[in-house]
Subunit: 375 residues, 2 copies
């Protein structure tokens, strides 16, 4: 007599080489399953403080207001928008993929007038393009840009941009969902005013939290608001009292934080800092190069002009069946890669080499598997 | 040579008898730490479907649109508000504690005019009171009420209310954060149009998800919206395509769901249904009676006129030091109980007997500990 487990009973051990989530180290999964504490327990508050301190190191910032929003990456985007934008504000969003488009949508829902500067999908923006757009729209109070455009794999340079934005009296908001912990990202040195990320990309933690950081200019804009942020859940004027005890009145309960996810994030950040941020970024670069060389040998080319190391967006070769190849990778190898998103659907594959997933073992395996599936 | 672990290294094994989170069974913690799947992996989608099906059983509803919002309980409140309320709508909120006040705040931020009907903290509303308020405000399109007011422990009856609300052409929105899985709650029989809860109360799962359910009337109101919901993250017109494939176009990616939290919720719901909803509700009632009897022997009285079984809000006796007693419970016994919230601060203790925590062992232990601490 044979026994068959329900097909959903035990999650399969996939190798996650798509656009995220990325592979989660066993240490992080174990931390996730530690006993649940209360959200006002002194021990939990100490764990949260440690987590925020490590987030500051990884963001390379001294910003006191650096914490994980209680939601996945897009909750972080919405947190920045709802607090930094007031109805009737003018905002400039740089759009060269799905996540720029999404930022436009999120900010418009805050009642702002959103101007866009656009680049072809796969391209990045020059500082001059953005300066020209600001010249055309002098009332802009916030510029939003995506550091790591997960839909195209484009890697946007950010150095020198804040100076241009600040000279116009505007703030710089950055989407770093797919770059934090895997790419150079210097929040303070680069003058970034507000930034959000996700836990399930280069930090190799399960999805569920969205690290954010706000600088002094962003705090001043929030403090000067005439209207309440439209979201209570994401209202930073209250969240900061819980996370930092800041804003007067000491530490105050706001909402119940996702306790166990905080354990996991703390462990994931510990691993990042044990490796060292610089070494980790270099590892991502080396694994990207190794993959790129192997893909070239297979005749596979990149879509973006300037590719991320953490996400490799490649053109599906003529004659290959998109869905069939991805299904075979999943069933025969247990490997997940991503399909194309938005206008890239059916045209691109997205191979993520993020955090724990960016290893020689995974690069050589995915190349071998692709070689077999494309034969 | 002695070795001392960092005080934050390993979360302590507390007995969580406060207003939530509640004690999490080992089975649920183990499920939480299972390997992370991608959010579009067929196996994960099957796990999500199972989770939603079990949520329907626990909510006692056939509503297709029943799913866990990717945030803690207050994200569920905000999800209901942002989708059901349009700017310039009139709404009636029943306020008899912190969570009614919060609902008013959240709904006002959606641009609605909020009327309130109020009752003293600790009291509940009669259907007549609400009918009178609707008579006074005939344009009201939504009535919001808290089933389980976590700040006072008051247990609001809901039977017959929907008929009154529907007769006025309005919808009924219910906060069931502290009652789902521990109290009788019949979404379909009681005519509730929209409802939200949390995972960390009577379901005994860690915090991080907020189960919601929407009936046909609520869907019709959302479909008839003239404006986009102000939140992209919580926009049900998009979320339903991911969770149910509904609204046309099949299953579509929206945001990255908190994968591992879904495993935990599935396991927690499995435990609820193994016990049986009716047996579980009866257990909560029996443990409440056992506690109430023991508290009376200690001379401790209840604040609400009609107490929840899951949350027992008691008057701090004269001469007892609120903070000192709670600190001693935490340090000597590893027991967390809650202090008072809002106007109850310093006046009340809140003893939660939720889900896995509602046991003879815990009731007798907390009574013994209180007896020792109040001696």
């Amino acid at each position: 007599m044979s026994r068959t487990a329900s097909p959903t009973a035990h999650p399969a051990e996939r190798i996650l080489l798509g656009p995220g989530p990325s592979p989660v180290p066993q240490r992080v999964l174990r931390a996730l399953g530690a006993p649940t504490l209360g959200h006002l327990d002194p021990q939990y508050l100490a764990i949260m403080d440690e987590t925020c301190a490590m987030l500051r190191e990884v963001f390379q910032t001294k910003n006191a207001l650096t914490f994980p929003v209680s939601g996945t990456g897009m909750a972080g985007m919405e947190c920045c928008a709802t607090n930094l934008v007031e109805p009737s504000d003018e905002v400039l969003v740089c759009v060269n993929g799905v996540f720029g488009l999404r930022m436009k949508d999120v900010i418009e829902r805050c009642g702002a007038t959103v101007h866009t500067v656009e680049a072809p999908w796969g391209d990045v923006f020059s500082n001059e393009q953005i300066a020209d757009a600001l010249e055309k729209h002098p009332k802009v109070k916030l510029v939003g840009i995506v550091h790591a455009e997960t839909s195209t794999g484009a890697h946007q340079p950010l150095e020198g941009l804040a100076e241009i934005v600040h000279a116009r009296g505007a703030l710089l908001l950055v989407d770093a969902v797919t770059s934090l912990g895997g790419h150079e990202l210097r929040v303070d040195d680069w003058g970034i005013d507000a930034i959000y990320s996700g836990t399930q990309k280069c930090l190799s933690c399960p999805p569920g939290l969205s690290p954010v950081s706000f600088g002094d200019r962003a705090l001043a804009k929030m403090d000067a608001r005439k209207t309440k942020p439209q979201s209570w859940y994401l209202d930073v004027s209250m969240l900061r009292k819980y996370y930092t005890g800041g804003g007067g009145g000491g530490r105050v309960y706001h909402h119940t934080a996702p306790i166990n996810m905080t354990y996991a994030l703390r462990e994931a950040l510990t691993i990042v800092l044990e490796e060292g941020l610089e070494a980790r970024i270099a590892r991502h670069a080396a694994m990207h190069q190794r993959l790129r060389t192997g893909l070239a040998e297979l005749g596979l080319g990149y879509i973006p002009t300037r590719s991320l190391h953490s996400l490799n967006c490649i053109r599906i070769p003529d004659g290959a069946n998109d869905a069939a190849v991805r299904t075979r990778l999943l069933t025969d190898y247990g490997i997940e890669i991503g399909g194309g998103l938005g206008v890239m659907a059916g045209k691109a594959w997205r191979i993520g080499l993020m955090g724990h997933g960016a290893s020689v073992r995974n690069v050589d395996l995915v190349l071998a598997a692709l070689r077999a599936c494309l034969r």
